[in-house]
Symmetry: C2
Subunit: 348 residues, 2 copies
């Protein structure tokens, strides 16, 4: 609803490509000691010395990944950074730089892009990363955001998806399903707004869910916490497409099976109550909802005492041999095969 703002608008065509880039990036200095040179040349120059460089990229498309009817641009900028940093942390690495490429149609005034960049800058500041490059261009329709995140780690600290072994414990950070339920609430409010633009929604009770959807936080704290606890995961992945999909990735790439316990999946009370309101199964939501940006990892059993007291970490299962399959053990103690498209209880 950016068109509703009652402020003066500056067409981006007034600035031209270079003027626009200069305007949007003028506050973006470089601070990281791994950044030698940021914006303003053909390429950025980084120096990771004896560390490994970690690199990941994501593309966000208006109408596919976000709906500007209910996503404020500042939040969108912030979230677009989180989506990428989450992948760096999932390597057990430190994120240090991003590049930001944006394509916009002419319907976006300069002030809208400033909002988007304000979110990106806020994320960069809080997460201690430099914006070292990018591209700004026009699009025929809508907004496109392409971010590449760069990080670094000592070789011995890196964690891949393929290292899980039989008897390892499966651990998840935070809680799951909230971002998906936040989206359901926003979609419902959008429909209400379309029917009655004067309705005043009371979303107070949904604050946690909506925040998880609009302003997720990448788990920068987890690689730090694991280091402090002296635990190196045997495998790790971030949860962007839903627990089910990520468990399957870990097990497939590690060539193992898993028993995942439904009763252990961490759910916030707000998720449980809103699932009842929407008549959705909260386990299904946690397994398939996605956009949680939590981390899923495996540890050796002997490391369990080091993590068991930590409220950020929940053991939700254990790794089995491959032929036992990738299974969900339900509350009724039945073992169901997890599906690549996610477990759907309606089909059972």
């Amino acid at each position: 609803m950016i068109e509703d703002k009652n402020t003066s608008k500056t067409p981006i065509s007034e600035l031209g490509e270079f003027g626009l880039i200069n305007h949007l990036t003028k506050n973006l200095g470089i601070k990281q000691k791994t950044s030698d040179f940021g914006i303003g040349d053909d390429a950025a120059v980084l120096d990771f010395k004896n560390k490994k460089c970690v690199l990941t990229t994501d593309l966000l498309i208006e109408g596919v990944h976000f709906d500007l009817a209910y996503v404020p641009l500042k939040h969108l900028g912030y979230k677009a950074v989180m989506v990428n940093l989450s992948d760096v942390y999932a390597m057990n690495a430190t994120a240090s730089q991003i590049t930001v490429s944006i394509a916009v149609s002419n319907r976006f005034p300069l002030e809208a892009l400033e909002e988007l960049y304000a979110g990106i800058e806020t994320a960069a500041k809080i997460y201690n990363i430099d914006v070292v490059g990018g591209d700004t261009t026009s699009s025929t329709t809508g907004l496109i955001i392409s971010i590449t995140a760069i990080g670094h780690a000592n070789k011995e600290d890196l964690v891949y998806r393929n290292g899980a072994n039989e008897n390892d414990l499966l651990v998840v950070t935070g809680d799951l399903g909230a971002a998906y339920m936040g989206l359901q609430i926003l979609e419902r409010e959008k429909q209400v707004f379309e029917v009655n633009p004067n309705s005043q929604p009371d979303l107070d009770q949904y604050t946690y869910l909506i925040e998880r959807q609009l302003k997720p936080e990448a788990r920068k704290d987890i690689p730090e916490l694991l280091k402090a606890l002296d635990v190196k995961p045997t495998s790790m992945i971030d949860i962007s497409d839903g627990l089910s999909s990520e468990v399957i990735h870990l097990c497939t790439q590690s060539n193992v099976g898993v028993n995942l316990y439904e009763e252990k999946i961490p759910l916030d009370p707000a998720v449980i109550s809103v699932c009842e309101e929407f008549k959705l199964n909260s386990t299904t939501v946690a397994l398939n909802g996605g956009e949680d940006y939590e981390l899923l990892f495996t540890i050796k059993q002997e490391d369990y005492p080091k993590i068991k007291a930590n409220p950020n970490l929940t053991v939700i299962g254990h790794i089995t041999d491959k032929k036992s399959g990738i299974g969900l053990v339900t509350r009724a103690n039945e073992k169901i095969q997890l599906q690549a498209q996610g477990w759907n209880p309606i089909k059972e």
Copy 2:
């Protein structure tokens, strides 16, 4: 004209996101010794040891940067890689990796994406780079390509835009304006085709121009050549937006002026003859056409003997003090200020 192909089509929805990524990337192994891990985890892992890492990114949007009516997808994939590698070479660095993110609407069958990837793979093979990551998603309209190129260099070999000094010589590689004239010919043929779809265009005489537009080559050879000649440029930039724009960037960032000699600008005979056909001024085309992907650099006068015999390199001017301005010395020996939007003789 991808819809015209008389082959069977596979909807991309049949494969799903992960199926599609696996299918398109299955041939993309890693070969570079700086690539530790490529596609298949949350992030790629690279190792540049004691070298600096160089990183650049570009976004290509259908309808803005390319028109699929006359750009074959294989060429588009190839060109998208070139656009990015060119920026790495402009740092006097070696390109070693790219990530490729693509968003497509449902109208693209799998076979179209295979063509696009075939071009990307060909470029990666010829230019000796690994595809180490990316993202594949759907778009609401059209095709979007976001590529990040990564390279490396010794600290002492890196060349920035801001190092030009008074009396340095301004040097350009190859020839200019051909890609722009290739585009004019393709645009004209598109219009002819729209009027009469049965017309058989004879484009043989325009082969060089069309190739420069559809299948440009990044100047991987130039950093290698400069090293062999024992010449380190004082500043360097690639020519993507036109000579005029890039000269202004170099001079502004180096805080100097320039005398650029119109008669020295290297033009292919095909450019001169087609400019006559289109009633365009060939100097204007060379200055503002863009998409040449040649390199523009400055060298110390004392290095002139090392480069003067080389047919790839043309001295087109010399650096002056800042207050002399950024000037084009015309064939009539008049000095005209170069404009940020490019020199337009119609305005004079």
